[in-house]
């Protein structure tokens, strides 16, 4: 956040309208999960999303973002949500379920049918481009 700019232009704000997880981000960083952020929440968000943030921290918040129902596990339903958001619903139902199945198969270490934070971190630590994609610049 090295920029000296204090007022956001309309275009700059508009630029973040395309993220499929924008609502989740807002919810995760807001105080009570309603998506309304205070300045502090906002700062939190950018400190997590900045390039300098450590990997573990990013992984923790990424987990929270992908955990749609806030139950501290990424279950099959969460995965379906993620896929649908990522592909704008272009995949058929079977394809989506196949993808979710595969993800669980790959990353679920303790075979309980859902991803815990631990599973998620274990997986994301090996991802080659997690750090490069999971950040926001202003």
């Amino acid at each position: 956040m090295g920029s000296k700019q204090t007022v956001f232009t309309h275009e700059q704000l508009e630029a973040y309208q395309d993220n499929p997880f924008r609502q989740r981000i807002a919810q995760v960083f807001s105080n009570n999960g309603d998506g309304h952020m205070t300045l502090d929440n906002f700062l939190d968000m950018f400190s997590v999303m900045s390039e300098m943030a450590p990997r573990d921290l990013k992984a923790y918040y990424a987990f929270k973002i992908y955990d749609f129902n806030n139950d501290d596990y990424i279950c099959a339903w969460d995965l379906e949500q993620t896929v649908t958001k990522l592909t704008r619903g272009e995949l058929s139902a079977e394809e989506v379920s196949l993808v979710c199945e595969k993800v669980l198969d790959e990353a679920d270490g303790d075979h309980d049918g859902r991803l815990s934070l631990e599973d998620f971190q274990n997986m994301i630590l090996r991802a080659p481009d997690f750090l490069s994609t999971f950040h926001i610049r202003i």
Binding site: L57, L79, H111
Partner: protein
């Protein structure tokens, strides 16, 4: 004193340490701090280290005998007990009973794990709250000048250490900003108070400077990367196509781009070293017969129809072989043009061979590099494919499309690997398909042979019809048009994965086109031999004409006769130029056919389907004509064969490469446009193979095949007597000998003659074969070792996975443990960090050991981990024992937390 409270105290303290990832007992300060400072980000690491040194000094200076580890441990425990006594009253006052709930109903926490995260900071706070009064009292006693008791000093040191670790690891804690700030301030204050003025001025500034520099460096790297990406031509276009049509279609465009680069280099070579010197320094047009349009053609030399056939003025220009003079040196630079011409011809092939082989090698290297990502294909796609940086709706659309496409690609791969199939039926069908295709190939080969034979008969006859003249071409293009779809239909029988199917299709059409190419070459050879046979007579005619012209009677002997105008000199047919023109025509017509096909077959069809759909009786878009798919195999082969033409023709038509560069450039834009505007993605989008080495292999084959005819003509046919840079010589390569004899010192000539001795060349070739054999076997064994290592990693991962699942079940049973998940997390993280380091040959042994260690038993793991130095001591054994669930892990904690665990509490 209650067990529980004591345990909690210990636990809370241990937790701070555990977070800081120190693996040693608290007394072994130096040992313990090392790993933590190493793991912390660099700048902070230095801060921490400095502090550590100072504290070390303090300890040695301030307290005469720091005390044995056991003693300290005892002190600490006693302190904890004291605090535990104080605790209830104070904490309950401030925490409004929250803590009470924590203690008494650990079960609740287990059921609602979301609270766990909140608990952690709460405990830290609690810890601090207890420390504060203590520390203030200590400070007052310290400032009073009384000598501190040993235990107090030790305690302060310990707290300072804790604070420092807190500061170091603050960044990676999932707390809100405000909390982080207050915590940090508090910790800093504390540390500063007890460590004196530590690093106030210089250190801070240095740190700020360092972070600033780091930021700037990151920004610079980012900009540089962006710049590099922008420098790659058509990168955005190709990415665009890739996101909509999949990597297989994009692989064609990447190949096209690569080809363009190669051709640019060839173009630079030929233009820079042959054409431009000739144009600048050679004799001008019209000075000698070979540079002049003959009198008979002068009339129509500028007509478009003639120029279009590369006759007329174009034929007698620097674009073709015949224009070049056989003067040994030209211009004031005394540039040896014939020599340069020959060397450029050789180096075109040399460079092409080198670049093709090199890129094949680098592709292979790249493809063996990874392997880690294979295990998490879908997970990585799901969780890391969205780029949070995207801030442009168009880019976002592309990203959505590309994510969808890549999911589809992976799904196809997955389905293919899971396919249940009747192996016998598939085998039978594959054999049948291959049989059918071989029949087709044989049939078309015979047809070509038949037609070529017939055309030779036609060529002897007079007044043949248009069809009879062009029969070969027509048959060829009909074959080229109908065979590939036929092959594709037959290939549907085989039921291959689309990627494999594409390779087969490429191979088959390649075989078909080879027949095409070689009939063309044979026809050309016949032509050349015919011309060579006529050459002798023409040579005599020319001599006679000149002789008669100068010696004819009826001219005033005293005045020398003006030289015969070059246009009037009779000349030979110059077979080299004829060959060059043939290739030129072929290239241009090929280009036009490609463009027209795209325009008609793709664009007009798309327009028709799109707009006539409103008033048609069936659904055109979904039904019969539909939109065209991008024909990968046809386009790739077209490109490859075109390049073969260029390689063959460039020796006789130096301008050909220029035309080809233009062709590739236009086709890049045109095809990109056509694909995006009028094609639809394949029904089963499939991932391109990682290296497009199959294309490269075909290209190499074509390069070799096109090298053969050129080498043959250069080595064994005599050059024309009156055109080209080698005219008058017996063979073209004589120019080398001439240069060596005339321009090099004699001893060099001798050396060359010696080197050309077969007695030397044959051993050299043998040696090369031996070297190839040796290197091949080395690479084979290396790749074997690589595969084995990969297998080992895989096995390791399996073991770890099953291990974790067992552990996970065990911990799920253990309900009293609030700290489990986070502490285990850190263990896991470190484990994985260790493993993610890429395997190298030197590490293989260690890996092996590790695999064994992990594989054998739990206890093996327990003994191994403390040695690795970052096992978190997040919890004293007390809790574990109290909770009454003896686990396999218990002994691990015991051994890890050292003697304190084994010694009974006082």
């Amino acid at each position: 004193m209650s067990h529980q409270v004591k345990g909690l105290k210990e636990e809370a303290r241990g937790r701070v340490k555990g977070r800081a990832r120190s693996g040693s007992p608290p007394t072994g300060d130096r040992l313990g701090r090392r790993p933590s400072s190493k793991r912390a980000p660099k700048a902070q690491g230095t801060l921490g280290r400095r502090g550590a040194q100072r504290s070390q000094k303090e300890r040695t200076g301030g307290s005469p005998s720091p005390g044995s580890p056991q003693r300290k441990q005892a002190e600490r425990r006693r302190l904890g007990e004291e605090l535990g006594k104080q605790e209830p009253s104070k904490a309950e006052g401030t925490c409004k009973g929250r803590r009470k709930r924590d203690e008494r109903s650990p079960l609740k926490e287990q059921t609602a794990p979301s609270k766990k995260e909140k608990e952690i900071p709460r405990k830290e706070e609690k810890l601090k709250r207890h420390k504060k009064p203590r520390s203030s009292s200590l400070a007052s006693s310290g400032s009073g000048g009384e000598s501190l008791s040993e235990e107090e000093l030790a305690r302060i040191l310990e707290q300072v250490e804790e604070k420092k670790k807190l500061i170091a690891t603050m960044r990676s804690k999932p707390w809100p900003m405000v909390k982080k700030l207050t915590e940090l301030r508090e910790a800093q204050e504390f540390v500063e108070k007890y460590e004196g003025a530590l690093g106030k001025g210089k250190g801070k500034r240095l740190y700020a400077c360092k972070t600033l520099m780091a930021k700037k460096w990151v920004k610079f790297k980012r900009d540089f990367d962006n710049f590099k990406t922008q420098c790659i031509p058509w990168e955005m276009k190709i990415k665009d196509i890739e996101s909509h049509f999949g990597s297989s279609v994009a692989s064609y465009f990447i190949f096209l781009r690569w080809m363009y680069g190669v051709n640019l280099v060839l173009f630079g070579l030929i233009f820079g070293l042959v054409i431009i010197p000739e144009v600048l320094m050679g004799m001008p047009y019209g000075s000698i017969p070979r540079k002049t349009v003959p009198r008979a053609e002068e009339e129509s030399a500028m007509d478009f129809s003639v120029l279009w056939d590369f006759e007329g003025y174009i034929k007698y220009s620097a674009l073709f072989y015949g224009y070049y003079n056989n003067q040994r040196t030209i211009g004031w630079l005394r540039y040896r043009l014939p020599m340069a011409y020959f060397m450029v011809g050789v180096s075109v092939f040399g460079y092409s061979l080198m670049i093709v082989i090199r890129s094949m090698a680098s592709n292979t290297q790249g493809s063996t590099g990874e392997g880690e990502s294979d295990n998490f294909t879908f997970s990585f796609k799901m969780f890391t494919s969205w780029d949070y940086l995207i801030g442009n709706s168009e880019t976002a659309d592309n990203k959505y499309a590309s994510i969808t496409t890549s999911f589809k690609e992976s799904i196809v791969d997955e389905q293919e690997s899971n396919k249940e199939e009747n192996i016998h039926l598939t085998r039978f069908l594959r054999v049948l398909a291959n049989f059918l295709i071989i029949c087709c190939l044989c049939g078309s080969g015979y047809l070509i042979y038949f037609v070529v034979k017939r055309s030779q008969q036609f060529s002897k006859m007079q007044n043949v019809s248009w069809y009879e003249r062009n029969e070969v071409e027509i048959v060829m293009s009909l074959l080229g048009m109908f065979c590939p779809p036929l092959f594709e239909t037959i290939a549907a029988l085989e039921n291959y994965h689309p990627r494999t199917g594409l390779k087969w299709q490429l191979g088959r059409i390649f075989a078909l086109f080879l027949g095409n190419l070689y009939t063309f070459l044979l026809a050309l050879m016949d032509d050349v031999h015919l011309k060579l046979a006529n050459e002798e007579t023409i040579k005599n005619i020319t001599h006679w004409t000149l002789f008669n012209y100068y010696n004819s009677s009826g001219w005033n002997e005293s005045v020398p006769r003006p030289p015969l105008h070059p246009a009037d000199v009779p000349r030979g047919s110059c077979w080299e130029t004829a060959v060059g023109i043939e290739f030129m025509r072929l290239t241009v017509s090929d280009m036009l056919v490609t463009y027209i096909t795209i325009l008609l077959g793709d664009f007009l069809r798309a327009c028709f389907v799109r707009f006539m759909n409103y008033c048609w009786c069936w659904d055109l878009e979904a039904g019969f004509p539909s939109y065209a798919e991008f024909d990968i195999s046809g386009n790739v082969l077209g490109l490859i064969f075109n390049q073969g033409m260029i390689w063959m023709g460039s020796f006789y038509a130096p301008g050909l490469v220029g035309i080809n560069v233009l062709r590739l450039l236009t086709s890049m834009y045109f095809q990109c446009w056509a694909v995006m505007s009028s094609n639809v993605p394949h029904e089963r989008v499939f991932k391109a193979s990682r290296s497009n080495n199959f294309y490269m292999g075909l290209l190499l084959l074509v390069l070799f095949l096109s090298l053969l005819p050129v080498a043959y003509t250069v080595m064994s046919l005599p050059p024309s007597f009156d055109c080209g840079p080698f005219s008058g010589k017996n063979r073209m390569y004589d120019v080398l000998q001439e240069t060596i004899e005339n321009d090099f010192p004699t001893f060099l000539g001798k050396i060359f003659a010696f080197l050309a001795n077969p007695g030397l060349i044959i051993p050299a070739i043998l040696l090369m074969f031996l070297a190839i054999y040796y290197l091949n076997s080395v690479s084979k064994s290396l790749s074997q070792a690589n595969a084995q290592l990969r297998k080992k990693i895989q096995a390791l991962r399996e073991v770890e996975k099953s291990h974790r699942s067992v552990k996970g079940k065990a911990t799920a049973r253990d309900s009293g443990d609030t700290l489990k998940s986070s502490s285990k997390n850190t263990t896991q993280l470190q484990l994985t960090k260790e493993e993610t380091s890429p395997p190298s040959a030197s590490q293989s042994q260690a890996m092996d050991k590790k695999a064994q260690g992990l594989g054998t038993s739990n206890s093996a793991r327990g003994t191994m981990l403390p040695a690795s130095g970052h096992l978190p001591i997040s919890r004293p054994p007390g809790v574990r024992i109290d909770s009454g669930h003896p686990l396999s892990q218990t002994h691990l904690w015991r051994s890890a937390s050292g003697k304190s665990a084994q010694r009974p509490p006082h």
